[in-house]
């Protein structure tokens, strides 16, 4: 059993895509059989939470913790989505078992294509990396994060701090 790494700190992480990058073309499957593409990013702040696998214990912790502070994300006008390479059926079962409301997006086929485009794929293990990409309402990257190890969990505070910093910058501009 490996130890958990130190919690990630703001400003000292790797990123999936540099801030200011326009959203690339991508397509993810929604739970109801639809698609979620770069066009769906427009109009509100979007937080894509990439996790390695449905039902893995660490992923369980991560989404349950974020669920606890969803009102904090809503207060900042941000909508969260979970993203993995699991099939939509697996994601739906995972979501139901956890009792969470965070919508899930599947990168199942072609496997990992959207995650690769968004800098959030972990090639050595053939899975979505532990990563977060935040898009502003204009569909450009506000902030992103890639864990040093898929077992490292980014705290909700890192995302909320990034959202606050982006809002401060916008006000100052």
């Amino acid at each position: 059993m490996s130890d958990h790494g130190a919690p990630p700190q703001a400003g000292s992480h790797r990123f999936a895509l540099p801030a200011g990058t326009p959203a690339p073309e991508f397509s993810l499957a929604t739970e109801d059989g639809g698609t979620f593409t770069q066009d769906d990013l427009r109009g509100q702040t979007t937080v894509l939470v990439f996790y390695p696998f449905a039902f893995s214990p660490v992923c369980t912790d991560q989404l349950q913790v974020y669920e606890e502070v969803l009102p904090e994300f809503e207060r900042r006008g941000a909508k969260l989505y979970g993203v993995s390479t699991d099939a939509t059926w697996s994601q739906a079962a995972f979501k139901q078992q956890l009792g969470i409301s965070i919508p899930q997006l599947s990168d199942f086929e072609p496997k990992g294509a959207a995650s690769r485009a968004l800098g959030a794929y972990f090639e050595p293990a053939g899975m979505t990396n532990r990563a977060i990409v935040v898009f502003g309402p204009d569909a450009t990257v506000l902030w992103s994060y890639v864990a040093d190890s898929p077992g490292d969990l980014p705290g909700a505070n890192l995302i909320l701090d990034a959202l606050d910093a982006a809002e401060d910058e916008e006000r100052a501009a």
Binding site: D3, P7, Q64, V65, E67, E68, I100, N157
Partner: protein, 159 residues
């Protein structure tokens, strides 16, 4: 960052001991192990705060609120130790029996654990922990920041 000791915190250990703020869940087995191992360490001044994730266990929030109801009758630590010693019994009848065994006014305990004040207390602790970076139960804070080394030592190390 989380706040230092507050007047309404649950604190045990020597006044000059090393301060550890424990955010934990009464239904979490890792928290029970951490409690036992932390108890074996001399010189630790421990603060208990709730990290009761409503989606983690169906009884997490209910038992946290019951602990606060016990606290209102001066029995927080007795309740804390009893639940961690027997985590298989956390349904309402078990909690009523425990309250009786601890000599509490059971009717008052039952009313208090459903009160808004107690609910807000549990919610306050949990939100504070998550917003300070807690990502699992238990999470230990020293000097206001999560201490992963202590978590690994108390929870992940085989003994």
């Amino acid at each position: 960052m989380v706040s230092e000791i507050r007047t309404d915190d649950h604190v045990r250990g020597p006044a000059d001991g090393e301060l550890v703020v424990v955010y934990a869940d009464f239904t979490c087995p890792f928290c029970a192990v951490a409690h036992e191992r932390l108890s074996e360490r001399p010189g630790v001044r421990r603060v208990f705060r709730h990290l009761a994730l409503k989606t983690k266990h169906p009884r997490a929030v209910a038992v946290a609120r019951a602990a606060e109801a016990a606290a209102l009758q001066g029995a927080f630590w007795a309740f804390h130790d009893a639940v961690y010693a027997d985590q298989g019994r956390v349904e309402d009848p078990h909690l009523w029996a425990l309250a009786e065994r601890l000599g509490l006014d059971v009717a008052r305990f039952d009313a208090d654990r459903r009160s808004a004040t107690v609910a807000e207390r549990v919610q306050r602790d949990t939100q504070e922990a998550v917003l300070a970076g807690a990502m699992r139960t238990p999470t230990f804070f020293r000097d206001g920041a999560p201490d992963t080394d202590l978590y690994n030592d108390l929870v992940r190390t085989k003994r």
